[in-house]
């Protein structure tokens, strides 16, 4: 997915309600929005779910495929969540476990990997990242 890609209406609506960083009159440093409140949490979950559909099993140029779940999940941990290989055991276990649990709950492999992406996308190190 590249800059200029059109995202879903849901994502556009959610992004529109997130507060902007801004400068407050007379303050030398920016005021940064830093509250993971109700709207942030639910909004981010909907963004992640929507983007999962555009990044997992999304046609011939898809970023990740459910036919190769292990490399995808490793990418989620190392690249998305940002955990180095030296200490990736626990997050890998959690994400792989989620993928299996999702399939056991009746989801297809594709939907299970999308849910795993959404889980990684909601990880605090992603939710807390900024510019």
């Amino acid at each position: 997915m590249r800059v200029g890609t059109t995202v879903s209406r849901t994502v556009q609506l959610v992004v529109a309600v997130l507060p902007s960083d801004q400068y407050s009159r007379g303050a030398e440093q920016a005021v940064l929005a830093n509250d993971p409140n109700l709207f942030f949490r639910t909004g981010l979950e909907n963004i992640c779910a929507s983007l999962a559909g555009q990044l997992v099993d999304a046609g011939s140029t898809t970023r990740w495929s459910s036919t190769s779940p292990d490399p995808a999940i490793a990418d989620f941990v190392h690249v998305l969540i940002g955990i180095e290989k030296a200490r990736d055991t626990m997050p890998l276990t959690i994400l792989q476990g989620h993928f299996q649990a999702a399939k056991a709950a009746g989801l297809s492999a594709s939907d299970a990997l999308k849910s795993t992406f959404a889980l990684a996308c909601l990880a605090p190190s992603v939710a807390g990242i900024g510019q």
């Binding site: 309600v17 507060p19 949490r41 639910t42 970023r63 807390g128």
Partner: protein, 443 residues
């Protein structure tokens, strides 16, 4: 994107860089400050401990940076000749009763239910600015709220514990521009639109929504793992992040379905969404924007003023209907305060009005308030300004002889609203450094 792209590049391109989802747009609102540089983050909210309090009110707060001409057509503005009013028949001067006392106002106000009028207070005061961009300063009572917080944010923080709300910050549903946005302890708050609420709050549709509980449990495990090695600031963030998840799961599906039926951002939709959010117990204060004529410098025959006063008062009447339907008529106070009023003199205001920081009328409607008029107006130079006020009766006092001088009338309005809505009076005097409570405005 190559497989060896850096994490930062991936995040920017996939999560933060896509189309309308520009980096700045999404990065804003993300709690980067805690993890990236806690020293730059402002202090966390400071909701006070507060026992359940039957006097505590939710507040629906309408504000406008346009400076709408509310002050021209309400009780108190007909007490003297020489003030311009729209000539449209729908705005004819009409008698109405407020808690047993007769006043004159534009006809739309007289159409409100008597039970509502009996708890409607028209508070005349100054805002001391003629600049549209100063709405945030007016919301801070021109700097007289402790730590330069906004009045509504201070009230929300004080009442959140009493009401048991999900959050202690006010919610902004109606702002039309950044100048109408809210901050709480300096932190900008989301600007929500009624039509977007269901999309924001509802769980993901389809299979991903079906296994939300499994994902929540696994996210809890991830959070716990992060927490093991986190700094104190990161652990604090993780606690708040976990709390936000609990809040999200406590939302009633039936109320979400009600929100889903709201398809536009009109004043009536703002009112409808606000009532649902009060029923969800999300926040003590929700701000909306009900137009009452706007920035009407050029308004032939004051026709726009007339039209929007009719529709604006109707929206307030609709609020009463909806609050009664929800059983919240005694729990929600409506307040309408704008950046300034408009000039009034009939000698120069028949086809539009200019900014008037010396006179504005805040409308307070709620169980804690007694129907009537607080303060009034007097001629000054080529127009009018708010008079000083007697704090015990609320009566206007000429020539600045009241114990609330003109310069303190805005702070007095703030104290009266806060105390009326259940904020401890000791806190009120501590948190608002000027003015006096107007006892005569309270029921």
């Amino acid at each position: 994107m190559t497989m060896d792209a850096s994490r930062r590049e991936l995040l920017i391109r996939t999560l933060f860089g896509a189309g309308m989802l520009g980096l700045r747009s999404l990065a804003t609102g993300i709690p980067l400050s805690i993890l990236a540089d806690p020293r730059r983050a402002l202090g966390a909210g400071s909701a006070t401990a507060c026992p359940p309090n039957a006097a505590a009110q939710y507040i629906l707060f309408s504000s406008s940076g346009d400076g709408d001409p509310v002050n021209a057509n309400v009780p108190g503005a007909y007490a003297m000749t020489g003030i311009a009013h729209p000539t449209d028949p729908t705005m004819a001067p009409t008698s109405l009763m407020l808690a047993g006392k007769q006043y004159t106002a534009a006809a739309p106000w007289a159409l409100l239910p008597q039970a509502m009028l009996d708890r409607t207070c028209f508070f005349h005061h100054g805002t001391y600015t003629n600049d549209h961009s100063d709405l945030s300063e007016v919301m801070r009572l021109q700097g007289f709220v402790l730590q330069r917080d906004m009045l509504v944010s201070m009230i929300a923080a004080q009442l959140a514990g009493c009401l048991g709300t999900v959050q202690s910050e006010p919610l902004a549903l109606g702002p039309r521009s950044s100048s109408e946005s809210l901050t709480a302890q300096g932190r900008p708050q989301p600007i929500l639109s009624p039509a977007a609420l269901a999309g924001v709050l509802s769980p993901p549709a389809g299979p991903l929504g079906q296994i939300q509980q499994i994902r929540d449990a696994d996210l809890d495990r991830l959070n716990a793992w992060f927490k093991q090695n986190g700094s104190s600031a990161q652990r604090d963030f993780l606690d708040r992040y976990a709390t936000s998840q609990q809040q999200a799961r406590s939302i009633s599906q039936s109320l979400l379905n009600t929100l889903a039926n709201i398809t536009d951002n009109s004043p009536n939709s703002q009112v409808a969404a606000a009532v649902v959010l009060f029923r969800m117990n999300v926040s003590p204060v929700i701000s909306i924007h009900i137009p009452f004529g706007g920035d009407n410098h050029t308004d032939p025959s004051l026709a726009t003023e007339a039209k929007q006063t009719v529709s604006g008062v109707a929206a307030i009447g609709n609020l009463w209907t909806q609050l009664n339907a929800a059983g919240l008529q005694d729990r929600v106070t409506f307040a309408m305060m704008n950046v300034f009023g408009r000039t009034l003199s009939a000698a120069r205001n028949t086809n539009g009005r200019d900014h008037q920081g010396d006179h504005h009328v805040t409308v307070l409607i709620g169980k804690p308030f007694k129907g009537g008029v607080v303060g009034g107006l007097e001629p000054t130079n080529s127009d009018y300004r708010a008079m000083s006020i007697d704090s015990s009766s609320g009566a206007a006092v000429a020539a600045g002889a009241g114990d609330i001088p003109f310069s303190d009338t805005l702070a007095a309005l703030g104290k009266t609203l806060a105390a009326g809505c259940g904020v401890d009076r000791g806190f009120v005097d501590q948190d608002i450094r000027r003015g006096k409570l107007v006892a005569g405005a309270l029921a």
